[in-house]
């Protein structure tokens, strides 16, 4: 990866779109502070209260603690004082997970486990939400439903999001801005703002946006095909 510059104002949803091997996941790891083997600067925040920025991360796999229940998985990422508070149950309710609160992750389907991972990322009220292919390897109806839930959460609580995906439709459904990446070295080759408000994007709109991108003549867009 070389010369990657990216900035997002608070509340913007940015999608990193590109084929595998262009460093999308690496970029998220660097922003999250998990990967320190790089030259460059990452700045998140500052928060209005001056504290360190809170990051939510939805990994490619759910990465739930299998030996803790759904509720415990959510509670654990909160500061100790808030664990018994209403935040966990409210978030479970919002993602329609309440009936599964006392289940262990081993008892959940992949779609359900991803939903719990999404709930965990939102329960910390993140200043920055990182999402790495959060709906990959789900069947289309499940992915669609999960995307809808995410969309609702974002409407209710505007959050700065960095979404990594290779799925153009998904990016167009959720993001305010798309960054198209190309591999070796990983770099941004095009920037595409999405003007239509998220709530107004139905299937037909998304399809139209997609066709428009695919029909552009610049080489950057040929990678999308």
């Amino acid at each position: 990866m070389r010369g990657l510059t990216l900035s997002a104002p608070a509340g913007e949803v940015v999608a990193l779109v590109g084929p595998s091997g262009c460093g999308k996941t690496t970029a998220l790891g660097i922003v999250a502070g998990l990967d320190r083997a790089f030259d460059g600067v990452v700045e998140v925040g500052p928060r209005p209260d001056g504290g360190p920025a809170r990051i939510g991360y939805v990994f490619q796999e759910p990465r739930l603690l299998p030996w803790r229940t759904v509720r415990q998985n959510l509670a654990l990422v909160l500061p100790r004082a808030q664990r018994r508070g209403p935040a966990v149950d409210a978030m479970l309710e919002a993602l329609e997970l309440s009936p599964f609160a006392d289940r262990f992750p081993t008892q959940l389907s992949l779609g359900m486990a991803r939903r719990v991972a999404l709930a965990r990322a939102f329960v910390v009220e993140p200043d920055l939400l990182l999402m790495d292919e959060p709906f990959v390897s789900l069947d289309e109806p499940t992915a669609l439903r999960l995307r809808g839930l995410l969309s609702n959460l974002l409407d209710r609580r505007p959050t700065t999001v960095l979404l990594v995906t290779h799925n153009l439709r998904e990016a167009l459904a959720l993001a305010d801005r798309l960054l198209l990446l190309a591999p070796s070295p990983g770099r941004v080759v095009a920037e595409v703002p999405v003007a239509v408000p998220r709530a107004a994007r139905d299937d037909a709109t998304i399809e139209a946006l997609r066709r428009d991108l695919l029909s552009r003549p610049e080489p950057a867009f040929r990678l999308l095909a």
């Binding site: 796999e61 990465r63 603690l65 654990l76 081993t106």
Partner: protein, 250 residues
């Protein structure tokens, strides 16, 4: 059927023992009834319970010490290649240190005290626990560790909710082999430098060639250790592993 086979197995052993006792005869190898009588005699006098109780407390203290220190050393060694390379050779040294040497030196350096006795037993078990825990720690899921870092879990929470649960099978294995090893070493420690406990008592019985008494104490103590294994260790392990057995989404 599953209950029947162990019973048959034990009966077979008793029969073999009785046959051997009849062939050898006399005080050298008393049969099961003679040993049972000795067991009853020691139980009635209260000596059996006193000495077993004392020994059991030492076993538990040494066990707790060895397990917590073993995990405390093995976990960082498994997680950090630098620590592993630095202290790996020490581990080889301690693994090969004879139990008797540790016990004798502990008594020489710290006197014939309870602390020296328990410490010596623990030191004999710690290297083995470290090796097992280190291997378990190397296999820890980095994805969950990264998750804990991103969500800023405190070191205590990482240990309790992320690391130790992954080490449960390892710790359980270490606990089982530890219990078996520790109670044997505790007897030696008692024989060499304590004035109570099963080891001390066996030494007394040895001096009077009371084989029936020795066997009585041995059987009683093996039974107690087995009880600990099936009554405490295994249920504890099952409790820690309950999430594995949950049926899939109903």
């Amino acid at each position: 059927m599953p209950v029947l086979m162990p019973v048959v197995s034990i009966l077979l052993l008793l029969a073999l023992w009785q046959a051997a006792a009849m062939i050898v005869g006399g005080r050298l190898l008393p049969g099961p009834p003679v040993v049972a009588h000795a067991l009853l005699r020691e139980a009635e006098s209260g000596a059996l319970f006193h000495h077993m109780g004392v020994t059991l407390l030492r076993v538990l203290a040494a066990f707790a010490l060895a397990m917590s220190i073993g995990v405390g050393i093995g976990l960082p060694m498994g997680r950090s290649p630098v620590l592993d390379r630095l202290f790996g050779p020490w581990l080889v040294f301690f693994l090969n240190l004879p139990a008797l040497v540790v016990i004798v030196l502990a008594y020489v350096w710290f006197g014939l005290t309870e602390a020296a006795a328990i410490g010596a037993v623990a030191i004999n078990k710690i290297p083995n626990t470290v090796v097992l825990v280190r291997a378990g720690a190397r296999a820890i899921d980095e994805g969950l560790v990264d998750m804990a870092r991103v969500y800023r879990l405190s070191p205590a929470d990482r240990l309790r909710h992320v690391l130790v649960p992954q080490l449960t099978p390892t710790i359980a294995a270490a606990a089982r082999s530890g219990l078996a090893l520790i109670w044997k070493i505790v007897l030696v420690v008692e024989l060499l430098g304590r004035s109570d406990g099963v080891g001390f008592q066996i030494n007394l019985l040895f001096q009077t060639f009371d084989v029936a008494g020795i066997l009585a104490y041995t059987i009683a103590f093996v039974a107690v250790v087995q009880l600990l294994e099936y009554g405490v260790l295994q249920p504890a392990e099952r409790h820690c592993q309950r999430w594995r057995r949950m049926p899939a989404d109903a």
